[in-house]
Subunit: 159 residues, 3 copies
Amino acid sequence: MIAASVVLEDGVVIHHPDLVNLYGCRVGSGSRIGTFVEIQRNAVIGRHCKISSHTFICEGVTVEDGVFVGHGVMFTNDLHPRAVNPDGSLQTDADWTMVPTTVKRGASIGSHATILAGVTIGYWSHDRRGRRRHPRCAGPFRRRWRPGQGRGPHQGCAR
Amino acid sequence: MIAASVVLEDGVVIHHPDLVNLYGCRVGSGSRIGTFVEIQRNAVIGRHCKISSHTFICEGVTVEDGVFVGHGVMFTNDLHPRAVNPDGSLQTDADWTMVPTTVKRGASIGSHATILAGVTIGYWSHDRRGRRRHPRCAGPFRRRWRPGQGRGPHQGCAR
Amino acid sequence: MIAASVVLEDGVVIHHPDLVNLYGCRVGSGSRIGTFVEIQRNAVIGRHCKISSHTFICEGVTVEDGVFVGHGVMFTNDLHPRAVNPDGSLQTDADWTMVPTTVKRGASIGSHATILAGVTIGYWSHDRRGRRRHPRCAGPFRRRWRPGQGRGPHQGCAR
């Protein structure tokens, strides 16, 4: 389902609109959205992006232009998620702090990655597959590629 | 699809009933089920739970009240899954031992976690995100929070 | 959706054809396909396989007979995925090298596994759950089972 609240710019490709769940988000021109993808309200996808199947992009995520997001990638926006408060009452928006995440222009996120809330993924950064990102940028994101290496300059994690 | 065999108590919220696959399970009052979720027969979800998108809950799983299950969480109930027997014949129920799993009241399971069959996840336990649970409770589940720490008392893994 | 280009042999079981995305692939007789599964063109699934829910099987993957693929398994076929070229233009098929993957007869792939492009997963090989496979066969794939051990002979990774 693509809710009426979604803004799709020119040339967005969604082969199976009945098998996605998009609401309140914006998708830039020429981007492609795979099946079984959910994109929540207040998420922004740039132009010429590829969002692969089975991926979840939550509120508070900004994906800049030309980004590749692999299959089965899960973004998060809450470092301490709970269904209820200690007294058993249902949590409301007042019990929750949304932590934003940004994926910079040209980055590539491998399939099955889990993106911890609060990360900034750098320009043209690239992981091989399924690595986990967190604010301290441990793991492959510490690696810095020289310009011309791989398929584009890499500036690592911007934090 | 929500099969006729499903028992939904009062106030269950499922925004897209056409984009879930629920059959033979029970969901307690006030719980919320995200899109692209499958819940199998003989699974039980308590009251005031939140089951996030892209999650799979299999037969033999009991989720108590007030539990948060993140996005893309996979439960399992078979430690030695196979499609066929060594002679090539299809496996049947006689070739399979179902191993039950319990998630205790108030627990929070981070996005992308994989839950190995046979785990008991303790009252109000909490992982940051995507850790893997197994019967020996290695990793963050060994950690014990003092009462009042985080957002509720934590008793670690009950095993 | 099951596209007209899909070849389903006799006795294939797909409980919810509206909740899968199959196109240009072949599925062998007696195999079962779960919900929220995507199988791309030029992927081949053998006979008597079980492909569990939330799994993605991409172009270039060959799954032989009698294979179990768990829930939420992501195959890949590109070691350097990008949405765009360094000049910002959209990538086309000319910018991409497809790397094939084979899963040999009788193998079992645990839920949430990520399969790096180029792997060959050996006859009757078995992981417990969610391990990551890569061409050097690190991790549990190094383990060799003796004939009769487990539920079938294991030859490890064929590479």
